[in-house]
Amino acid sequence: MYLVGNLSIYIGLAISIFSLLIFIIGIYKQDQRFINSGKGGVLAAFICTAVASAILLYLLATEQFQFQYVHDYTSSELPLIYKLTAFWAGNSGSLLLWSLFLSMYTVMVVFSKKMKGNPMVPYIASIMLTNVIFFFFILGFVAKPFVLLDEVPIEGKGLNPMLQNPGMILHPVTLYLGYVGLAVPFAFAMAALILRNMDDFWIKMTRRWTILAWMFLSLGNILGGQWAYVELGWGGYWAWDPVENASFMPWLTATAFLHSVMIQERKNMLKVWNVSLIITSYALTLFGTFLVRSGVLTSVHAFADSNLGLYFLIFMAFAVLGGLYVLMSRYNLIKRDAGQFHSFLSKESSFLINNLLLVGAAFAVFWGTIFPLVSEAVRGTKVTVGIPYFNAVQSPILLSMLFVMAVCPLIAWQRSSAKNLRKNFLYPSIFAIIAMVLMVVIGVRKTWAVIGYGVIAFLLITHYLEFYRGVKARRKMTKENIPVALWRLMVRNRRRYGGYLVHLGIAFIAMGIIGSQNYDLETMKTVKLGESIEIKDYKIIYEKLDQRKEGINDIIYADLRIFQNGKPLGVMEPEKVFYGNWEQPSSEPAIVNSWKEDLYLVLSAWENDGRATFIVKINPMMNWLWLGSIILVIGTLFAVWSGKYGNITPRYSGSKREVS
């Protein structure tokens, strides 16, 4: 096993270097035979990572503690699912997962039916392979997954309790699928620039891959937030920690790209900008990994310190410089035949504003994240940038973003006339103003909340009108009933309506964020048995403190009987779990969900005489955040699903080569 595992990594490294060379020779000689053998190499490299991953999973599942990785992250009592997920609990395993996805994506692109006979393939494959080689190198020489210990321990160290949560199964996988996925658009962009060709085919393919990566990145971030919310007993879901920022920045720039590429599609403008966004998004994924693995910043998330970060920094510099060089050397070519704006009030200009806001938001996050490093270098003191900075800067930017999003469906492509604007804006504005007045009347009085919810109301009504008008127009012609008309309308315009669904998802997420950030309540109290805690209209009676055993874990729990306005809501059990070989307990909060708010209960401490200390929080509208996330994913899938209608991949029209 040891031999096969290590061999698969070193053979994988050798094969990918070989295929890269042979692709280059093939391109240089324009000889299809070389290219074909390179493609075989791509497949072989994927098989190598798959074999290595399968072996690691097997070792983890069968408790082979003589392997350091298995010893460090698992123990025999661990449930099988967490033994398997320990795959990505440490540095080398998570990098193996990364390599697996990367080589998988490479195979998917190289052997895709749509790419058949396309001269971009050898270039894309070469760029992807460069990445694969980097990861094989790291796995082979820096963070080795298969290391034998001198003696065979009887037990492993176990998995960190915080990682023993369903979040561990999906969050890292989706996040990596998103991170790695951004390498594909980068490869496409580089290939297109080298071939001096950015046609509709390129736009289509790049966008599909970016949407896919974007969806996984969104899902990864959301699942991470959800995990933090249910696991850490802190009651939050986002803390602007460097590690979180690292995955938020590429999300922002990828979102910007997905919009601005539409302008390129229609008007052939912004090509340099689009390629820059792709390079930036890709570089930010590497930069994020550098932050996470190097320990240069104070983060509660960080992996064990290692010099891994340095390698990522070097590779990132290499990729960015390479990307910029290719971009600059083709600058004049892609600058040619760009279109012109016809009007300031057009969808195009609203997309531009959207792009500036998104990139601005990304820059603000970047600035806040690296500011401690900058100030240390310049002034010698490490200045910390806290959550207030991020909230202060991001709220206005993202709120303006929501506003642009709300207005966008009302504005036509090319140009909007004042008359049709007035017509389009009248009802939504009235609706939003009524909603804002109503909010003030029922007691929502914080400025940010009122503005925020006003904008969201505006967005909901403009999007509703889009659906309504579409269905109405369709029914006029077809006489279908409403659900049929709605469904057919949507499947015939998947991109458009899928996009609207994503917008609605974002609006719901924003509702949750605004509610939970502005109207959360918290109280902390030590009570005796039988005493109660009151918060808002809840009454919480502390009835029992007890202990039970689950496997090797000991659990202390408290019984809390909950009443809301005198109405019983049942008994909740917040816990402290003492995991097997971890001295310290972890909090397992209990949460009472409703569409209005979550009641969030944490057992913090207890005394000899049965007194216990609880943290009780009210987090309004959290369910809307999760609902919005689900809508967002459904919308994305709906948009990229290849249905019967539309969604045809344009023919490749770029420069021809002998090889493909």
């Binding site: 123990s75 998330h301 490490k382 806290g386 003492f578 913090s604 005394e607």
Partner: protein, 155 residues
């Protein structure tokens, strides 16, 4: 003037607004991150600042007042500098001897005192457990009859 130029100017204005927002927000929301040694030497200097400081937890110094919900403990560094910390809140998870504690808050008036708004812990090997050789299966038994503030450290 070409419309493209006009649009570019508009873009610059938005970009400028964002940069302005950044500049306006940066000083107000940030504090300083200093070492324990620096803080101990210049308590007055940092009195007005929102300070982030790291130290190793001294376990026997932990004092927990359940009714007041007040946690007091000492942190030290490897050179013997000490700081007495008061925190109006509960013990974070993973609060054991030698763990790195990240404190954020204000230095108090008295020398060597610190009022922490947030207390977080960071394990040097965050995602790794202890060796099982040191593991005593009895260690968690009967946690209930001990106050949670004394329940660690029986290794």
């Amino acid at each position: 003037m070409k419309k493209n130029t006009m649009v570019s100017i508009g873009g610059l204005i938005i970009a400028g607004a964002i940069v302005f927002l950044l500049m306006a927000a940066t000083p107000g929301s940030s504090g300083v991150e200093i070492t324990l040694k620096e803080l101990n030497g210049n308590q007055q200097k940092y009195e007005e600042n929102y300070v982030t400081v790291e130290g190793l937890l001294v376990e026997e110094s932990i004092e927990w007042d359940a009714d007041k919900i007040e946690l007091q403990f000492d942190v030290k560094d490897n050179e013997g500098n000490k700081l007495h910390v008061t925190h109006n809140g509960v013990k974070p998870d993973n609060f054991t001897e030698g763990v790195i504690v990240i404190l954020q808050g204000n230095p108090a008036k008295e020398q060597g005192e610190f009022i922490a708004e947030t207390v977080k812990t960071r394990c040097p090997s965050k995602y790794e457990g202890q060796d099982m050789e040191n593991y005593d299966p009895e260690s968690h038994k009967d946690k209930l009859n001990k106050p949670s503030s004394e329940s660690e450290g029986e290794k």
